[in-house]
Symmetry: C2
Subunit: 209 residues, 2 copies
DNA sequence: CTTGTAAACGGAACATAGTTCCACATCTAA
DNA sequence: TTAGATGTGGAACTATGTTCCGTTTACAAG
């Protein structure tokens, strides 16, 4: 279900919709680009120049754009499996903790994911239409994950039930934009504050923690 | 004391530190640029091209850069008095409402300010060093304003006392980055959620009431 | 009023970015 | 082996921030 055409860069070795197989060299170049991008993003952030990534992969920019029509498509492809991992963490946390605690932990998990990718959050929230696909994929995978946790916690009376998961995702994403250096603790505190906001006014609102 | 050298573009008509008076045409151009910028920012957002602003003001880009060494300096100059207005709203709200309510209202006031300036929040949080002065000015004026409200509310036992005003400012700024269209309500809800987070577990400070 | 000159001006030019284009190279099926 | 679809590289185009510098202008001193 989560398979969207987030970029041209999937289609495992077998043929595309045309019937003709993907050329081996093309396949190689796509992989080289993804690998190079991961490294370059880690070193220079998500905003690294296209040329830098193409050079690192040993291909020309033309090749880059053949496989990733827009810069953002590369970003999307690179982070796709990390998004999946984050989504998959939800049911696991749910099985290990009380509903409220699971929710709180997942929110931090999500925050950590975003925060460690320099520039990812900014890119996502830049409003630039090029990141629409990435944004869509984030919602597609993460919203159901969060929705489950949220509903369970609300049913258990641990948090209020009138907040949309999509809003929360966006909010946490926003909070993580500051990035890097000493801000990690601060980000965690702000996410925790948001979660406490969810708790406020649920059945169990007493002073503690 | 809020007078910092946020840009080259202050110094009211009188002489600068050199002793020589500011030339009248220069003075005019600075004003034309500020006025044009306000209009262009409203229409095209804070990210509008320098040339567009220069054209609107009827000056060349060279003149632009003479008065505002960096694009960001213009942004800072344009929003300076709006920041002041926001800061000044704090004591007024404090005198009209209960501490907790005053805090909540000011947070929304601040959020509205940021949110209505397309791209302002993004610029502030872009991490780009050019916006350092603007960011500093924001903190300089707004942090004391919020600190007062926060302390009063904590003393009244309405909110917890272990949160730094600077963190909150940054958090609200982040939450407002999404901007425009249908997001205003959502932003307000998220800011409210953050405030509820402050209320959750109130009493962490020497409270009474 | 004239004039010397520091100050200000304008916009061409430069640097960096994303993206497009297309002549040429390469792969693959027959 | 070979034809042609597919893929490649990088020059070139666009947009944008910023710098440079020859020219113009304000203004105070004479």
């Amino acid at each position: 279900m989560p398979e969207e055409k987030i970029s041209t860069a999937d289609a495992s070795k077998r043929e595309g919709s045309t019937g003709r197989p993907v050329r081996a060299d093309a396949q190689r170049n796509v992989e080289a680009l993804l690998e190079a991008a991961l490294a370059v993003f880690a070193k220079s952030g998500v905003d690294a120049p296209v040329r830098e990534i193409a050079d690192a992969a040993g291909v020309g920019v033309g090749t880059f754009y053949r496989h990733f029509p827009q810069r953002a498509d590369l970003v999307a492809a690179v982070f796709r499996h990390e998004v999946d991992a984050c989504a998959d963490a939800a049911p696991i946390l749910a099985s290990e903790h009380e509903p409220g605690e699971a929710l709180a932990r997942w929110m931090q998990r999500y925050a950590d994911f975003i925060a460690t990718k320099r520039g990812l959050a900014s890119a996502l929230h830049s409003g630039h239409p090029a990141y629409g696909a990435l944004h869509a994929y984030f919602n597609e995978r993460l919203q159901p994950a969060l929705a489950g946790l949220l509903k369970a916690a609300a049913t258990a009376g641990e948090v209020r039930g009138d907040v949309e998961p999509e809003e929360l995702l966006r909010a946490v994403g926003s909070l993580c934009m500051q990035a890097s250096d000493d801000g990690r603790d601060q980000t965690r505190r702000m996410v925790a504050l948001l979660v406490d906001g969810l708790r406020y006014g649920a059945g169990t609102a007493r002073g503690d923690r």
